[in-house]
Structures are given as structure tokens and as C-alpha cells.
Amino acid sequence: MELVLAAAIGILAASGVWLLLRPRTFQVIIGLTLISYAVNLFIFSIGGLRTGADPVLHEVAGDVAQYTDPLPQALVLTAIVIGFATTALFLVVLLTSRGLTGNDHVDGEDGTP
């Protein structure tokens, strides 16, 4: 499971970085989204990977080692919400730039007229 998750994070981050460095705004925003997926998965995995363990205590708590760490899950939830909001804002700016300059290059101008 660790290998699969690590590979997923790595591939997402690598493709995200590659897209982020591309000259079109659409590629940039997809790149940012992929990077944020990678980061969210990374935060999620930082509390250790467990299958079938609860993050919330039962009525009779029992052994704490049987639970998974709830804090990374709370953190990742906040990170998702904030990332989503800022990406949406970026999308608006991107569309404005497209409207003002008439093309989708990140600098507002590409070589072709």
C-alpha cells in the first residue's frame, strides 16, 4: 500500500510540476490542481497508513493504538477547502486574462499574432 500511495503522490506531483511550467494558462491551472492533489494525499499519509482503523473514539475508547491519527485528516480537509477556493479564484483571473488579452498565454502574448 505504501508503494502504491508513494507512486501516486510522486506521479501526480511530477505531472503537476511539468504542467505548471507550460506556457498555457489552462495547463498551469491543471498543474496546480494536480500538485494540490499530491500535497493533500501527502498530508493524509503523514499520520501513518492503516486500513479499517477509526479516527474517532468509540464510547469505550479501549486501546488508543487501534485508532488512526485524526489530526492529519482534519488538516487535509482544511487544505482541500482552501486549495479549492484559491484555485477557483485563479480560474476567474485566468478567464479575465483570456478576455483582456485575447489569448491564453501566461504572459498575455504569444509569438503568433
Binding site: L20, T25, V28, L32, I35, S36, V39, F42, I43, I46, G47, L71, P72, L75, T78, A79, I82, G83, A85, T86, T87, L89, F90, V93, L94, T96, S97, L100, T101, V106, D107, G108
Partner: protein, 531 residues
């Protein structure tokens, strides 16, 4: 020590911004009155907070949200440094309000609420006591700053804003990676608890901790605009509306604040042999590189907005190098320089905006110093906002006012006597002479050289503006706009005349920062740390 005053700088702008959004754009006077009340209230609250934490023998003030004990709950901590920074923020905001009164706030929607949200984010980031809330407040202030950077729209602003947002979103991702790595190693995000834990981190995970801290550091260095991470800054700041750019002058200082806070709290002398002074060499040499890059940019800048932007970079480089030295006396000088340079650069952005505008029409080009081809600009649609304008009173002799303020700014920024810029630079440089290290000596030389280049660049700009074209028609300057500039420069002047108490305060602040034991004890009363 717990007091409710600590949360006021966060709650007040939040409530006012919400109210302003409810009231809506049309009732301009009500929104404005609310803004003024909020900023004045903030100044008073922050001054009271500063007084509370600086009386003899006072500890840092800790506010536990929901009264949960630290480690489990969220804490806000106000020590001398935080109190200083929130006071600086609110004073700057209050001084900028009159400027934004006339032309700028009508050029787009929701200027005032966005400004309040920016203040909330800034104050929150200065006061928070744990890393994840630092991230949240950072995002709050960045979201508001995106809106403000684009305020007034126009192709130049949108394209600069696009880069700004992309860079900052990437930096936020690095921030999150760093925070989660640190959490993975230590199991806590509370800064005081981290400071207590770091000396005891086992050797095999220490490398991971350092990697996390380094990622976090890179995120802040991007916001501080360290070379080579700072290419976004001059363009964005030059493109933003003057009042907004003046407020942004404080945002690079937020990066400095966090690096100073975390560098000394987590990786100070008490962090154990393996972690002590981690990253300080990077800050020192990175700061010097930034200083050089900023100076070159300043000498080559072809319009006033860019010139001001590179001044921000120079000041960030100076501060980075100074805090990289990690010496109490240098830190005190650096704080003095931080305050003066923030006020002076803010005033400089305002003056640049005044010189570029031509009175009644609101063109938003920055004034170019040499004729060169400027890409065609489509003026923003004015008709929507062009009706009533609160401040039509213009002051007589604008050239005298602009010329005097410009030269005062130049003297302050270059650190020439007799104004407070000199006092701050002297307080920063004098302790460096006692340091035998090569880094300190080189930094000393570079700061002096950068001061000389600042004089050159600003003199050249001043000659181009005021002397070269005798027939240049100077813009009308409104009373409200000159009030803002006068307030900022007057504050610097005040600090020139009465430097004693502020400098004393800053010396104590630096001493407090270099002995993190009392910060940790204030948050976690039972903590065991080396004093």
C-alpha cells in the same frame, strides 16, 4: 497571562468586513466610516496590547481559543515582536485610508472589505501560535491580496496578478508539505511545543524535520522575495494601485517576521547541537544575493513603480541577511530598519502614484523615467464609478509638496542623516562591526554600497522628474492624498526626534526573541526547556 485584547486585531476587521459586505457598495460613506472606525480601533487596541506586553516583567500574552490548553487547542500569542508588527500593520492601514478615499476605491468593487480581510489575515499571521493556523491566515491574507492586486483591472494588472497568484499558490503547496513533514516527525504544530520537542528529536528522523523546515523556509523566502525566488515582486507591485502596493510593502515583512520567529524559536541556540542555527547561513547569503539583485534592479529601473518595487527587494535582502546573523544587537537594529523602511517605502509608492496620475483623469501607468515603448493600455471603464467623489479639494503648490516628500523618502530609504532612516541603519550596522565573521563584514559592505546606489538611483529619478522638463505639468494633488503621505513621513520624522523609547523597546524585543524560554513558558506553563 491571558487577555482578550489579543483576539481583537483579528475579530474587529473580520466583523467590519462582513458588515461592509452586507451594507454593500452603494453606501460609500457608511463603508468608509466603518473602515476608519475599524482602523482607528485597531491602532488603539494594538497600542494597548503593546503596552500590556511591554510593562516591566510582563510575559507574552497568550489567548487560548475556547480555553483548551495549548498543545490540544489553538493559541494566539502576543509577545513584543507580534505586538510591534500588528501595531505597524494597523498604523499603516490607517495612514493609507485617506489616500484610497478619492480615486482608487471607485475603480473596482469591494476595496474596503478586501482591505479589512487583508488586515485580518496579517494580524492573524502575526499573532498565531501554531503552524497550521499560520497557513490559514496566510491564505486569508493572500486571497484578499489577490483581489487587491487586481483592483482597478486592466491588462497589465491582470497579467501581473496571474503570475503573482500562480507563484503564491505554489508557495502555499510547499508550505503545506513543510508543515505536514514537521507534524509527521514531532506530532505537534504548536510552535512552543515544537521548540520544546526539537532538541529531543531522534537522530534518524532529524533529517526529515530539517527537510520540512527547509520547505517551510522556501515558502516564506518566496514571499520575502529572496533571489532567485523574487522575480514576481517588482512587476506585481508596480502594477498594483498605489495604496495597495503601499500595503503590500508590509507583506514581504510578514515573511521576514515568520523567518525571524521560527528561526530563533525552533532553531535558536537551544535547539541542540544538530539543529542549532539551521538555515541561518542560507538566510545570510541569500539575503546578500537579494541585496545585490535588488540594487542592480533599482539602478536599472525605468519607471517609478519598479523603482519602488526594487526598494522593497533591497529592504527584504538587508533584513534577511541581518536576521541570518542571529545576534541580538543586529536583530534589534533590523527591527528598527524594518519599521522605517516599511513606512518609507509605503510613502514612496504613494508619491509614485501621485506623480504618475494627472489629476482628474485616472490613468494608472506608472511614470516612466525615460521614454521607451510602453505596451498599449486600455483604460478601465470609469463611467460606472465616476460619480460622486469625496475629495475634490486640491492643495496649492503640489510641486513643492511632491518634491519635498520625494526627497524625504530618498533620504529615509538611503539611510542618510539626519532622518530616522540613518538611525535605523546605524543601529543595524554598528553591531556588525564587532563581528569578526566574514559574512557579517561582507553584509556590512553590501548594505553600505546598496545605500549609496539607492541615493544614486533616487537622485537620478528626482532629477528626471523635477528638473529635466521645466514645462512638465504637475498633477493636482488632493488634500486627502497629501494627508496620507504626510502621515507616513511625519511618523518617520517623529521617530527621528524621539528615537529613545522605540529603540529601547526594540532592544528588549530582540533580547526576548533570543531567549525563547519565556515564550515557551507562557504558552506551556509546565514546559522544561533550557532558559
Amino acid at each position: 497571562m491571558s487577555l482578550h485584547l489579543v483576539i481583537v486585531p483579528i475579530l474587529l476587521p473580520l466583523l467590519v468586513a462582513a458588515l461592509q459586505l452586507l451594507i454593500g457598495e452603494r453606501r460609500r460613506r457608511t463603508t468608509l466610516a466603518l473602515s476608519i472606525a475599524s482602523c482607528a480601533g485597531l491602532v488603539l487596541a494594538c497600542a494597548a496590547l503593546m503596552h500590556a506586553v511591554s510593562v516591566e516583567g510582563a510575559q507574552a500574552a497568550v489567548y487560548r481559543i475556547g480555553d483548551w490548553p495549548a498543545r490540544f487547542g489553538i493559541v494566539l500569542v502576543a509577545d513584543r515582536l507580534s505586538a510591534l508588527m500588528v501595531l505597524l500593520t494597523s498604523v499603516l492601514a490607517l495612514a493609507l485610508l485617506p489616500y484610497a478615499l478619492g480615486r482608487w476605491q471607485h475603480r473596482g468593487g469591494h476595496f474596503q472589505p478586501l482591505l479589512q480581510f487583508l488586515l485580518m489575515g496579517l494580524n492573524g499571521a502575526f499573532l498565531t501560535g501554531d503552524l497550521f493556523n499560520l497557513f490559514v491566515f496566510f491564505e486569508v491574507l493572500l486571497a484578499a491580496s489577490y483581489g487587491l492586486a487586481l483592483h482597478g483591472s486592466g491588462a497589465r494588472r491582470v497579467s501581473a496578478g496571474l503570475h503573482y497568484i500562480a507563484v503564491n499558490l505554489t508557495a502555499s503547496m510547499l508550505f503545506l508539505l513543510g508543515v505536514s513533514l514537521i507534524f509527521g516527525v514531532t506530532g505537534t504544530l504548536n510552535m512552543a511545543a515544537l521548540a520544546e520537542l526539537i532538541p529531543h528529536v531522534p537522530e534518524r528522523t532529524r533529517a526529515l524535520l530539517h527537510a520540512g523546515a527547509a520547505l517551510l523556509g522556501v515558502a516564506f523566502l518566496i514571499k520575502t522575495a529572496m533571489w532567485p525566488l523574487g522575480f514576481w515582486l517588482p512587476r506585481t507591485y508596480a502594477a498594483a494601485a498605489p495604496a495597495v502596493a503601499a500595503m503590500f510593502a508590509l507583506m514581504t515583512k510578514l515573511g521576514i517576521y515568520v523567518l525571524l520567529r521560527l528561526g530563533l524559536l525552533l532553531f535558536g541556540a537551544g535547539a541542540g547541537p544538530a539543529s542549532a542555527h539551521f538555515g541561518s547561513a542560507w538566510m545570510l547569503w541569500g539575503g546578500m544575493a537579494t541585496l545585490v539583485a535588488g540594487t542592480i534592479g533599482m539602478l536599472g529601473a525605468r519607471d517609478l513603480g519598479k523603482l519602488a518595487g526594487y526598494n522593497v527587494v533591497v529592504s527584504a535582502g538587508t533584513l534577511l541577511g541581518a536576521i541570518g546573523l542571529q545576534q541580538s544587537a543586529v536583530t534589534a537594529g533590523a527591527l528598527a530598519y524594518l519599521v522605517i523602511s516599511t513606512l518609507a517605502i509605503a510613502a514612496f509608492f504613494l508619491i509614485a502614484g501621485l506623480l504618475a496620475s494627472d489629476g482628474d483623469d485616472d490613468t494608472d501607468d506608472t511614470l516612466s523615467l525615460e521614454p521607451y515603448e510602453q505596451p498599449g493600455e486600455t483604460p478601465a471603464n470609469e463611467s460606472l464609478y465616476a460619480q460622486e467623489d469625496e475629495s475634490r479639494v486640491v492643495i496649492p503648490a503640489p510641486i513643492a509638496m511632491l518634491g519635498l516628500s520625494f526627497s524625504a523618502c530618498a533620504v529615509l530609504l538611503a539611510g542618510l542623516p539626519p532622518l530616522s532612516g540613518f538611525l535605523a541603519k546605524f543601529a543595524l550596522l554598528a553591531p556588525m562591526l564587532d563581528d569578526a565573521g566574514r559574512g557579517a563584514q561582507l553584509l556590512f559592505a553590501l548594505v553600505v554600497a546598496a545605500g549609496f546606489c539607492t541615493v544614486t538611483a533616487l537622485c537620478r529619478a528626482g532629477i528626471q522628474i523635477f528638473w529635466v522638463e521645466p514645462e512638465r505639468i504637475f498633477p493636482k494633488v488632493r488634500l486627502t492624498e497629501s494627508v496620507s503621505v504626510a502621515l507616513l513621513l511625519g511618523l518617520c520624522l517623529l521617530l527621528t526626534v524621539w528615537p529613545e523609547r522605540p529603540l529601547h523597546y526594540l532592544r528588549d524585543t530582540a533580547a526576548q526573541l533570543h531567549a525563547p524560554g519565556n515564550y515557551i513558558h507562557a504558552v506551556l506553563p509546565g514546559a522544561e526547556v533550557a532558559p
